[in-house]
Point group: C2
Chain length 329, copies 2
């Protein structure tokens, strides 16, 4: 009883959530193996000495193999050779999915590299086409046929799937509006995760406060979800007061601050909110458990499940495309 | 005589060099007007309050109109509406070229925006396809036909054209090897100018020392130009000693440091070297004139000539492509 009083909510681990995708991945894999007996091959490129990247690579390998997906880690000492290796992998028919463990150069050259991966093998969903579809709430690659589903960048997608698992997405509402009425704060506005995530959540009906060190923006589909995609409104320069105001109003707080020292102020939380941290650093301290109803301290394992799910989707898309072409000829 | 002694070389203004393209642009334009009587239309998007960007826009307008090219400046108060306006311009058949005056958001979102401009209208040459071609020394968009020339990002291209004007590119050498034997230092390794410029010069046969605040790299096509494209070698962490060593050996020093306070140390120059500054700040002080044989204090006007040249090339490419398709059908 006393424990319950101190921790009225629950902490849920990413591994609990990622496990729910094992069955789906295995089933799709079995169907695929009828066409591709060896199953798909995922290649990860590691060209840094970041221990976090190495651990992520090991997890990806372990998860892939446990589900029956072939995984190959290609390590490079000299990142200047990475681009050519990616191009070789783009052209290698044996390889179905390619991912890069970032950072490589740790600057804008990394964004160049992301676009070198052929979009048909881009399991991380980082290609410009996928981002542009995401921002425009376009869910297929071949409108108006709509047979080939677009790919979503895997960390934002993982957070959507976590919110589905946590029943924050309400399945009674029409698809695409399942966050209607929800308010979220996203602390991070990187091009890789924070900004696309804010857009995704707003596209699904939420009011999203997107926070970075400069300012706070509001992403919404307008009153009564009157727009088909999110719009952005500047609320003002970043200040603790403005952040506090946004948080006190919010059902969901999502943090992604890449710093060991950053801790989200627990006192900003409204009672019973949902807290998700996607940073590799712990952005919430333990007091969060006294205020949050649901707390997800890390998301990496769900991200890996989404990587594999994306890969299977890419393979399905390429098979459908071949079929389409055969029908046309 | 005494003046000559103090300034043994020459300062050459960008306007002198850009003028040499006026005739070429006008002639191409006259040919084009047979097919497109109104001539091409260039649209510039300005969504910041940067006075340098506004001046650049005014120059572009003035140059375009003086040569008989239609130019439209579209100003936006709210940068959050810029993406939709670009997409509208992408789809507007009346518009032939699109450019954005950066910075807009001043962060990675600007790289996203660059890729929103349709590559067929990207006069600045910022599309990933153009950069990837540049790095791989691929000069056409349609190998092996090689009828459609690839576009080069306009600032690196302007510097190449300046080096051609200055006779540093030696026309007696085979095309593609005209910098063989030359050594250059490029101080800036941004993804927009410094890194592609180093690659371009190395692809044309030079040994290039590429400098940023972290380290110094050497871009070359190998001994006796044995490779078909540049390779990169790390020389070590940035230090004044290493920079000095690279400069003392170099024929050409190119600076692009975006800071009012930075001044290249004149004492590093070897006598008679060529100095080019593409930063909007003056990276050389006046003493450069005593050491340099040729000194180009600014490059903006040549960049604008390259913008217009790129636009005409894009229009030519689209006409050729239409022709090709008609022949195929």
């Amino acid at each position: 009883m006393s424990q319950n009083k101190h921790q009225p909510g629950r902490t849920i681990l990413a591994s609990t959530i990622s496990k729910t995708y094992d069955q789906e991945i295995k089933e799709k894999l079995n169907t695929l193996k009828k066409v591709k007996p060896n199953g798909p091959l995922l290649v990860g490129f590691l060209a840094n000495n970041d221990p976090a990247a190495r651990m992520y690579a090991q997890w990806t390998q372990k998860t892939s193999e446990s589900l029956g997906i072939r995984y190959q880690l290609r390590e490079m000492e000299d990142p200047d050779f990475l681009e050519e290796s990616i191009i070789d992998a783009n052209e290698d028919d044996e390889i179905d999915g390619i991912m890069i463990y970032f950072p490589v150069f740790g600057n804008a050259q990394d964004q160049y590299l992301q676009q070198v991966v052929k979009k048909e093998k881009d399991v991380e969903g980082l290609n410009h086409v996928y981002y542009q579809n995401l921002y425009h709430n376009v869910r297929f690659l071949d409108p108006p046929d709509n047979q080939l589903k677009s790919i979503l960048p895997c960390t934002p997608l993982a957070i959507v799937k976590i919110l589905e698992f946590l029943k924050i997405y309400n399945p009674l509402l029409p698809e695409g509006n399942r966050l209607f009425g929800k308010k979220c704060v996203v602390i991070n506005r990187s091009e890789i995760v924070g900004r696309p995530l804010a857009a995704l959540l707003a596209n699904d009906g939420a009011i999203v406060y997107s926070v970075d060190i400069n300012n706070i923006q509001k992403f919404t589909r307008g009153e009564s979800l009157k727009f088909t995609k999110h719009h952005v409104e500047d609320l003002g320069d970043y200040s603790e007061d403005l952040l506090k105001k946004c948080c006190q109003d919010s059902d969901i707080i999502i943090t992604g601050v890449p710093s060991e020292n950053y801790k989200f102020p627990t006192e900003y939380l409204k009672d019973g909110s949902t807290c998700i941290n996607f940073s590799s650093f712990k952005n919430f301290d333990d007091s969060v458990k006294e205020k949050a109803s649901l707390y997800i301290p890390m998301t990496g394992k769900v991200t890996i499940a989404m990587l594999l799910r994306n890969m299977l989707r890419l393979v399905e898309n390429s098979l459908k495309l071949k079929e389409k072409r055969t029908q046309t000829n």
